[in-house]
Amino acid sequence: MNANLDQLFQAEGAAKTGGYVIRAVDVRKVYRMGDSETHALRGATLDVKRGEYLSIMGPSGSGKSTFFNMIGGLDKPTAGKVYIDQVDIAQLDPYELAWLRCRKIGYVFQSFNLIQVMSCLENVTLPMAFAGVSDEDARDKALDILERVGLRDRALHKPGEMSGGQQQRVAIARSLANSPDILLADEPTGNLDLKTGEEIIQLFSQLRQELGVTIISATHDLKMLKASDRIVWIEDGQITRVNTPDELHIETAEVH
């Protein structure tokens, strides 16, 4: 019954936003350092559909990270609007922003960013603790998610005792803890070798199919680009191209 209601609400939300989970409208960002101004973003506009798998490409210094932070609710634009699930994030106070980050968005980082002093299980339950989920429920759910990423048997290990690929899978499990609508991944395969990187890409695809989460990732990984629905190119603070992988003719081969 609840699940049905959720679906109803989701459908309603999708209808209102025209199926867009994130809308960025003419986003500009200026960093001031003393007297000098740096225009990191010069008017970027982008709509992200619910359930889409989007990759963002761009050389370093292009404003890619800034744009990424904007649509992830980590930073506020100087001008323009960013709507996450129809909500203008510029209007939110710190408590509402924390709420949004906690429940609507899951973050996956290039360097995993697991809390080293906590076990895998504690890392996954932490966002649920922030969301006010009871310890028992959080534990059960965390174990379920760890099962999904294939690491249930390592639940009590510390991140330092695991390989990079395993750590990234724990990080993905953590990002899913509060069932977010959006998964934001910053070069998630950047610190991994080809094979483990591929496993992560497969995991993303699987999660999107099973959970219907929207995945946005900044990446240079060709395999990741190939798996995505759309590729957004950012150069010099502006979105210059939006392609589908088919248009790009990406050739990747297996490495054994």
């Binding site: 609400f9 990270s65 990424f68 932070n69 980590l74 930073d75 699930d85 129809q86 909500v87 939110l92 710190p94 408590y95 509402e96 924390a98 709420w99 949004l100 980050r101 906690c102 429940r103 973050y107 980082f109 290039q110 360097s111 960013n113 697991l114 809390i115 080293q116 002093v117 906590m118 932490l126 966002p127 603790a129 922030f130 969301a131 006010g132 953590r174 509060n178 910053d186 070069e187 950047g190 610190n191």
Partner: protein, 322 residues
């Protein structure tokens, strides 16, 4: 439909658990911070204990000197004490040297309130007014001689010609006492300054160590914020950590400081003297106040680093090169 809610604060218990976990895992790093507190509080405590020891040892020494002086006075008046009868009249409260004198006299000679047949009358107590006349007090003495401990004590009635009134302490002694008081006050002032400076150094040291641990944990703090942590939670985390570090460091420091001071003064004087002279009640007060001071200062030292950490933007967690 409510689209965005308000993030609730995490319980203190939860924050406490996370803070303790952090300290335990980063034990090496935490120990450095703890040792800063230990040093500062050990210094404070050794100063306080030293002062207590010095005061009580010199006080005891002075007491003994005063008593022997009083005994010498009595001896010069009556000669050998054996078999003599001394009368004692007390007005007001007995001072510590007077008490010690009486204790030393008991057994050596007869003490009594009745002056009849007494070789000497001791007038003791700190009251400046005696509600009696000297001739009444000395009634029955063959040679009325009085030894008084207060030089300007007033008696009722006119001063009798037959009674010889001598004083235990002359004017010279009183002058010496006031000089000594000034010297001790100066010494106290000096040590107070040293203690204040050392505590300042402790605060800055702890503050610096905590700032270091904030910069080390940039990414961790940013990550926690990405996961939905409120700024107040981050602040709470650092304040709990610093108060625990402060408490542990202060307890160790206070014990260390007290032991060091006792050992050091034990070599200067004697261990038995130091241990017997030590006022244990005051030592406990000094210990508790040192521990409280250390804990409060550690929390104060954490205020800036905690603010700094809590104001960090979550985006810094995304940057891989921190």
């Amino acid at each position: 439909m409510e689209q965005v809610g308000i993030q609730k604060k995490l319980s203190f218990e939860r924050a406490f658990k996370i803070a303790v976990q952090g300290i335990r895992i980063r034990l090496g790093r935490s120990m450095v911070t703890v040792s800063g507190v230990v040093l500062g509080i050990a210094f404070l405590m050794s100063n306080l204990t030293g002062q207590l020891i010095k005061q009580s040892v010199t006080a005891e020494r002075e007491l003994r000197q005063t008593v022997s002086l009083m005994q010498a006075m009595i001896n010069s008046e009556v000669g050998d004490l054996a078999g003599k009868h001394l009368a004692v009249a007390t007005f007001g409260q007995l001072t510590p040297p007077e008490k010690a004198l009486l204790a030393s006299l008991t057994g050596k000679c007869q003490l009594g309130g009745d002056a009849k047949g007494a070789a000497l009358l001791l007038i003791l107590g700190d009251a400046p007014q005696a509600p009696a006349a000297l001739d009444q007090l000395t009634a029955g003495m063959t040679q009325p001689v009085v030894l008084d401990s207060v030089s300007n004590r007033q008696f009722t009635g006119p001063p009798p010609a037959t009674v010889r009134r001598e004083l235990f302490f002359g004017a010279r002694l009183e002058q010496e006492a006031t000089e000594l008081q000034i010297k001790t006050r100066q010494a106290q002032f000096r040590t107070r300054w040293i203690v204040i400076v050392s505590l300042l150094v402790t605060v800055i040291g702890v503050s610096n160590a905590l700032l270091m641990s904030v910069t080390e944990r940039f990414r961790e703090i940013g990550t926690m914020k990405c996961l939905g942590a409120l700024s107040s939670f981050i602040r709470q985390l650092f304040l709990i950590e610093s108060s625990l570090i402060g408490l542990a460091g202060s307890i160790i420091g206070a014990l260390l400081g007290a032991i060091l001071a006792i050992v050091a003064y034990g070599f200067t004087y004697q261990f038995t003297v130091v241990l017997s002279a030590l006022p244990y009640g005051w030592l406990a007060v000094a210990t508790v106040s040192s521990i409280v001071t250390g804990s409060i200062l550690s929390v104060l030292a954490a205020v800036y680093p905690a603010r700094f950490a809590s104001r960090m933007v979550p985006a810094s967690a995304l940057r891989s090169t921190v």
